[in-house]
Symmetry: C2
Subunit: 210 residues, 2 copies
DNA sequence: AGTTGCTCGTGAACACCTTCACAAGCGCTA
DNA sequence: TAGCGCTTGTGAAGGTGTTCACGAGCAACT
């Protein structure tokens, strides 16, 4: 039951990519895959794949490769994809609406179960079968639906306050789209998706090449 | 003129965060900032800030700190934020529309100048002052507007094809939102923004904590 | 000018990650 | 059972990134 502990961060970050690749292979009817092939499809080095997978306690078969289904199950176990985590999206502007309508969550172990906003004009509107509720009702929503993940898509100025509210109602992890650094207790995992930062990084490499 | 070469990847990835922080400080009327303060606001270690900034050839003043305006200019120079890079968004679905309406590009050196899609029903629609054009017209668009950056927000299945088309018309860098690994020539910088991956990484850390 | 307090820049140590290279192991065939 | 081809798992080496710790330098005040 217990997945192996202490998987390196770099490995954890690659597991979802392996998983996605394996889902594709399984759909194509492949039953086994070598580290070399998986590496090519996932865009990484083959030795890295083997080292990563060995961290799971997963063992491949020498001379043959890894069993696709088995590997999928093991990675799913480690990532917790097999449990369905309830998600709330806070801030139903441009981005929040796009996320609410996105269908790619369900196959990855996440289910958007609530949408909130602080703008009275938005309350009551529907997206993808859910009604936007007021941010002030978050405590009740979180309790009723046992919210586990919070996604922040508010303007940067409101993001810290929203993060505090999410932590207060017991959310277990946070994904932040607002371009600002958030302070949360150390035990709450938090990650950011920062489009503008990515573009600027690209800017550097392109700029430098010329 | 020439910025220092060979800035480590890890440093480059942090420069946009420093920049954003400095913009905030400048707006608040601060003229100098210490590495300790900048570190706290940017959520990193102070020694790291100093090492990063020393890579720019930027010099602070001992006993005082760094001059905010000067630092902003230097980072902007390195990132190429001071030139206005024309951007095309390919795939005007949920996400593409949200990005098209997003106002945060202009202050970071990027300007969305064209939107394309392959769905005839979407051609001609307007977003944020731009009209969606057909993907087949990309060569002409790229030439006329001197497109420098391509953002891919199509379904994963179409992403590689779109990437090839972007490369063919001479785009200088690519930002990919589709959950798939893209193959592009080595000289084209490419980065991905992968929401589902981020959620799964969070899943691991949350799962593990329990 | 001398002293004090603060902050930078950086060498050195450490931790983490990647890559190479190869022995060990598996399945298949004869 | 022996031999062969293929692929894994991992020790070791090399590289990158982080953090510590401290000398050096500037400003301000006496
Ligand atoms: N739209 C994009 O493509 C894009 C791209 C990159 C980053 N971002 C970032 O994502 C965030 C959202 O962007 P957007 O374009 O959707 O902005 P938006 O202004 O369209 O939407 C923000 C929403 O948050 C709500 N809100 C504000 N304060 C709130 C609070 N305290 N509690 C709950 N809801 C609150 C607003 O009512 C609004 O509906 C911003 O931080 C932006 O910088 C957006
Ligand atoms: N919407 C989200 O919140 C979200 C979140 C994470 C990832 N993504 C990813 O971003 C991508 C877009 O998501 P979406 O929800 O906007 O999808 P969507 O289906 O709403 O939009 C895709 C658009 O791309 C267009 N398109 C398809 N093939 C094309 C081609 N060859 N050339 C040009 N345009 C083409 C379609 O006509 C459509 O308008 C997907 O890969 C999705 O997995 C989306």
């Amino acid at each position: 039951m217990a997945p192996e502990r202490d998987i390196p961060d770099a490995t954890v970050a690659r597991l979802p990519v392996y998983r996605r690749t394996l889902v594709g292979l399984a759909a194509a009817g492949e039953t086994t895959v070598s580290s070399a092939r998986l590496a090519e499809l996932a865009g990484v080095n083959a030795a890295k794949v083997r080292k990563d997978l060995s961290r799971l306690g997963t063992y491949g078969v020498r001379g043959v490769g890894y069993e696709v289904e088995n590997l999928l199950m093991q990675i799913g176990e480690v990532l917790g994809v097999n449990v369905d985590a309830p998600v709330v999206i806070v801030g139903m502007g441009n981005l929040g609406q796009a996320l609410a309508r996105y269908g790619g969550f369900s196959t990855r172990g996440f289910r958007v179960v609530a949408l909130t906003d602080s703008d009275p004009k938005k309350i009551g509107k529907k997206f993808a079968g859910l009604t936007i509720q007021h941010q002030d009702d978050l405590p009740k929503i979180a309790k009723d639906l046992d919210i586990s993940v919070g996604i922040i898509t508010t303007p940067a100025e409101a993001a810290q306050q929203v993060a505090d509210e999410l932590v207060a109602v017991g959310v277990g992890s946070i994904l932040n789209f607002a371009p600002t650094v958030l302070n949360v207790p150390a035990h709450i995992p938090i990650r950011k998706v920062d489009l503008a930062t990515e573009l600027q990084i690209l800017g550097y490499y392109q700029h430098r090449a010329s």
